[in-house]
């Protein structure tokens, strides 16, 4: 990957993070404030507290793992172009 391609990939990853943020906000709203309307209690704990807090946490972790596996890419952080040019010179 040259630097421009890396920057294209970084832009893609940044946009994916933005969508992930939106997804967390939506999940958080529905699983907390939304579920609280149901008035369900399990194990002496209101259901919304479990889904809104632990649920949001688990949702975020799963989302982040998905992002890392499917959107994020590994590449060198050093400037490959300079390195490649040096290598070509040597050849």
């Amino acid at each position: 990957m040259n630097r421009k391609q890396k920057y294209g990939q970084i832009r893609k990853e940044a946009i994916a993070c933005f969508w992930a943020l939106l997804a967390v906000i939506v999940f958080w709203t529905i699983s907390g404030i939304g579920v609280s309307r149901l008035n369900i209690t399990i194990f002496h704990t209101p259901l919304w507290a479990i889904t809104g807090c632990i649920g949001t946490w688990i949702f975020s972790v799963v989302l982040v793992i998905w992002l890392v596996k499917h959107v994020f890419m590994d590449f060198s952080l050093d400037d490959d172009e300079t390195l490649e040019m040096e290598a070509a010179d040597e050849r």
Partner: protein, 493 residues
């Protein structure tokens, strides 16, 4: 007296080991300072792995208020407070996922050691670098004082020793170990601090559950006596506007905090970054849910109204520790919050020092063509860190009111100042010097002024006005100002 010594001992041993770790790291780092002292001292020669990167970012971000003030609020508000705090799970993937790689590539290319190096280069402006340095040093210093005071008060409440003893035991040591260890020392001690925080949390949760007569009993009592604690809006104590405010203040806009962004310059490779994003999200969630849950459960042992506990929610966790654990266990548990406090102090102190030494002193010398020998850079860096740390320590003995105001302004002030300067600088070609200067100055000013006068839009925290003002200024300035040189832009786009 015996009990008191038992309570003091664990913190003392922990602090001594922090110091030992820093000394050992410094010695081994000195042998391989191939990349130069400044780079090693301020960013650990870009060598952090995923685990340490995650832990140091989380530990810097979790302050003493995550362990004392926050859970105290949860005791009063109930599950709504936990629900609010969980929004912080977005912090890691935002700062590291959005800015992490770009900052790392650019940082390597232009050989940046501080975030101000990047800002100065991107906007080709000494003015913005100078303003950044002032904002960082002022706000960081106020935050550090608050951390010192929070930690020392907790120490006093739990161990029975005086405030000043607490301040000396952990305050002086953190200044010394940061001075000795530099960034690598800070990162590793932060990691140990994060582990101590989690351990303290587990211990306290077990203690509170046992002392309160078990989970079922605590929850039954809450349902009978304070049912509003089981509702998300807590009977009006936790309005929607507060949720929206907190989403912005401790969630979304933490992406602009320079103390977090600087970590993007310090890690080794993309694998480490990915690993850190996942691990950090897990740990931030566990800590916030766990600590605030303890706050709610403390109702089981502290069931009366706030008047009975000195009229401050800050007293809740110290009382919960003292009433539910034996002196020795209490002493081990307070390592958690003290670790939260010192890990924030160490990072801020080193960042503030880097702003003074690298961004002002070394830069000015270089500009005038005066070479600074390695040995002098080393002495000055450590001396500056020590003097600044001791100064802040001295202020913490009896902090003036203005420090509290500054501390209240610090978090949102830093976010308003830096968020668009970083984001637009990295992702918007048209962002230029004029936009950046306007954004930083106007964002900070508007935020602070509206905070002073308590002016809000739709009941939402002033951070909203701060970031809107700084965004508008960035766009207007960038469209009106002179375009950035293509050669410079080529590095960023």
């Amino acid at each position: 007296m015996n009990g008191k010594i038992l309570a003091l001992l664990p913190v003392f041993i922990f602090m001594v080991s922090m110091l030992a770790v820093s000394v050992i790291l410094r010695k081994s780092a000195a042998k391989k300072e191939s990349q130069g002292f400044v780079k090693e001292y301020f960013i650990g020669s870009r060598s952090l792995g995923g685990f340490v990167l995650a832990m140091t970012t989380v530990a810097t971000y979790s302050s003493v208020s995550s362990f004392v003030g926050g859970p105290g609020q949860a005791w009063s508000i109930g599950f709504g407070w936990i629900y609010m705090s969980v929004v912080q799970v977005t912090a890691l993937f935002l700062v590291l996922g959005v800015l992490g790689k770009k900052m790392a590539i650019v940082g390597r290319k232009i050989d940046a050691v501080t975030v101000i190096d990047v800002i100065r280069h991107r906007y080709q402006s000494d003015a913005i670098a100078g303003i950044s340095a002032v904002i960082i040093v002022v706000f960081f210093s106020a935050t550090m004082v608050a951390q010192f005071v929070g930690g020392a008060k907790l120490f006093e409440a739990v161990t029975g020793y005086s405030y000043l003893t607490g301040l000396v035991v952990f305050g002086l040591v953190v200044v010394i170990y940061t001075t000795v260890g530099g960034f690598r020392g800070v990162a590793i001690t932060d990691t140990l601090c994060a582990i101590a925080m989690l351990a303290g949390m587990v211990l306290l949760m077990a203690g509170v559950l046992k002392q309160g007569g078990g989970y079922e009993q605590i929850m039954t009592n809450i349902a009978a006596n304070k049912p509003e604690m089981l509702e998300p809006f807590s009977g009006g104590n936790m309005p929607l506007t507060l949720y929206i405010s907190q989403w912005m203040l401790v969630g979304i806009f933490t992406i602009g905090l320079p103390q977090s962004v600087v970590r993007s310059l310090s890690y080794k490779d993309t694998k480490s970054l990915h690993h850190a994003i996942i691990l950090g999200t897990i740990v931030v969630g566990a800590m916030n849910i766990g600590m605030n849950f303890i706050g709610v459960l403390s109702q089981g042992i502290l069931p009366e109204s706030l008047d009975a506990y000195g009229n401050s929610v800050d007293n809740i966790i110290p009382l919960a520790i003292a009433r539910s654990l034996s002196p020795l266990l209490a002493g081990i548990t307070i390592i958690g919050p003290i670790a939260a406090s010192i890990s924030t102090i160490s990072s801020l102190l080193l960042s503030a020092t880097s702003s003074i030494i690298k961004d002002v002193y070394l830069y000015e010398k270089e500009k005038r063509g005066a070479a600074v020998p390695e040995s002098r850079a080393k002495t000055f860096s450590q001396l500056c860190n020590l003097v600044l740390g001791l100064g802040i320590f001295a202020i913490s003995i009896n902090p003036p009111d203005v420090i509290w105001k500054l501390n209240m302004f610090a978090f949102g002030g830093l976010e308003s100042a830096f968020v668009w300067v970083f984001l637009m600088g990295m992702f918007w070609k048209k962002a230029n010097k004029t936009g950046a200067v306007w954004s930083m100055v106007l964002g900070t000013l508007v935020y602070c002024v509206t905070m002073i006068f308590g002016f809000k839009i739709a009941g939402i925290h002033q951070i909203l006005i701060g970031v809107i003002a700084s965004l508008a200024a960035m766009i207007a300035g960038s469209l009106l100002g002179k375009k950035t040189d293509e050669k410079i832009l080529d590095i960023y786009f």
